[in-house]
């Protein structure tokens, strides 16, 4: 890392109790503590959240866009994983 450049952090916010943390954006900060304070000031100025996660961007491993099609392909032809695939009388509320 270049001297004087803060690392990148991804920010996740829980909107209210009962909800998952959702990715809301990112920021640059020197350490976790600074990242947390910046996240609060940047992303929750209007009480948008009750809990924040900050994660170093370099610790996130993402699937590659160019490979996505084949990566997710195994699920494509398995229509029987969906309830609508089955013919049962609707009035029985199965």
């Amino acid at each position: 890392m270049l001297k004087g450049h803060f690392p990148l952090w991804e920010v996740f916010v829980r909107g209210r109790r009962g909800l998952d943390h959702k990715h809301i954006g990112s920021l640059h900060a020197s350490d976790a503590d600074q990242a947390m304070k910046s996240a609060r000031d940047t992303y929750t100025r209007r009480q948008e959240g009750v809990s924040i996660w900050v994660v170093r961007a370099e610790d996130i491993h993402a699937s590659q866009f160019e490979n996505d099609a084949s990566f997710f392909d195994p699920a494509e032809d398995k229509v029987y994983r969906h309830p609508t695939f089955y013919e049962v009388p609707e009035e029985l509320k199965l």
């Binding site: 829980r14 209210r16 109790r17 009962g18 998952d20 809990s51 398995k78 029987y80 994983r81 969906h82 309830p83 695939f85 089955y86 013919e87 049962v88 009388p89 029985l92 509320k93 199965l94």
Partner: protein, 319 residues
């Protein structure tokens, strides 16, 4: 006189969250007994998903058509996934995956005792999807409103996936019930054997269940065992009628006054016997889990060795 000192600020805040129908989240303060109660219930639930793969897994290799085989594989795969969602949710309470697994393998942890019954015919696969998954859905829909956030979120995800499980089971029953006399008899026989154990899945009567009263107070459980059981019976009678199959209970009849079906007494001695290990398949189920664990160990070891070797060579390259 009220003992004021016994109500800490934390306790008050916890009570207020429960009272307000909000969710408790992993890093919140919670009473130790609330945590332990959740660990017990969620790990039992996870174990049930995992052990629940075995009775149906017994028929994957013998499914009557390729279509049925693909469906059954997908269903059993979902159950493995449900186990994983629930173990992960339980881990947010500070219990490790290894501890939970170990408790299952040494026979200390419980799982739904319905899975200690054998799957003798193909119709059993239909009956399990229709009845056992049907009962699980009734229970799990109620648990979507449980007070612990990660558990509630796991339930929402699981409920979405369960719907096809029940429908594929019912479809199997439909085909058999509309088929030859022998096929219909096979479907009836499966219903006869699975009906009562399915009613037992909801647990002891409310009057007998001290555990579940505390759970209701904490809103871990939202509806009582008897309420949920009644809901299941009420919805299933019509489904059996449509199949032209008879539910094996002479006392089953509509009660106009209550607005529910009355049903006969459950054999709680059988329930107790199976829970304590006396079911036909208790030993086989645990043995299968132990075998999978032992025979899969070398794969885990190899993966860890590979990962370690690579993290070392990364360091070497940087150096």
């Amino acid at each position: 006189m009220v003992d004021v000192m016994s109500f800490t600020d934390e306790q008050c805040q916890f009570d207020a969250i429960i009272e307000a129908e909000e969710k408790i989240e992993p890093r919140d303060w919670m009473p130790e007994k609330y945590r332990l109660n959740l660990v017990r219930q969620m790990s039992q639930h996870a174990h049930s998903e995992v052990v629940g793969q075995l009775p149906e897994g017994n028929w994957i290799g013998r499914a009557p058509t390729l279509r049925r085989k693909a469906i059954l594989l997908a269903k059993v795969q979902d159950e493995a996934g449900h186990g994983l969602y629930l173990y992960s949710a339980a881990e947010t309470l500070g219990v490790s995956r290894e501890e939970m697994m170990n408790d299952l393998l040494i026979g200390k942890a419980k799982y739904a005792s319905i899975f200690n019954y054998p799957t003798l015919t193909w119709a059993d696969v239909g009956a399990i999807g229709w009845l056992v998954d049907g009962a699980a859905i009734v229970n799990q829909i109620s648990l979507c409103r449980t007070s612990y956030g990660p558990y509630a979120r796991a339930m929402v995800k699981i409920c979405k996936e369960e719907s096809f499980h029940m429908r594929q089971g019912y479809e199997i029953m439909q085909v058999l019930a509309e088929g030859a006399a022998a096929q219909k008899a096979m479907a009836q026989d499966a219903l006869n054997r699975w009906w009562w154990p399915t009613l037992m899945m909801f647990g002891p009567h409310d009057s007998e269940s001290a555990n579940s009263q505390q759970s209701m107070k904490w809103k871990i459980k939202r509806q009582s065992n008897d309420e949920l059981r009644q809901k299941f019976v009420d919805q299933t009678v019509k489904q059996a009628d449509h199949l032209g199959l008879a539910i094996p209970d002479q006392d089953l009849k509509w009660n106009e006054e209550r607005g529910h079906y009355d049903f006969g007494p459950i054999d709680w001695e059988e329930f107790a016997r199976v829970v304590k290990g006396g079911g036909l398949c208790n030993d086989a189920r645990l043995e299968a889990r132990r075998k999978a664990n032992n025979e899969g160990q070398w794969v885990k070891d190899a993966l860890m060795a590979y990962a370690e070797k690579h993290s070392r060579s990364d360091v070497d390259q940087v150096a």
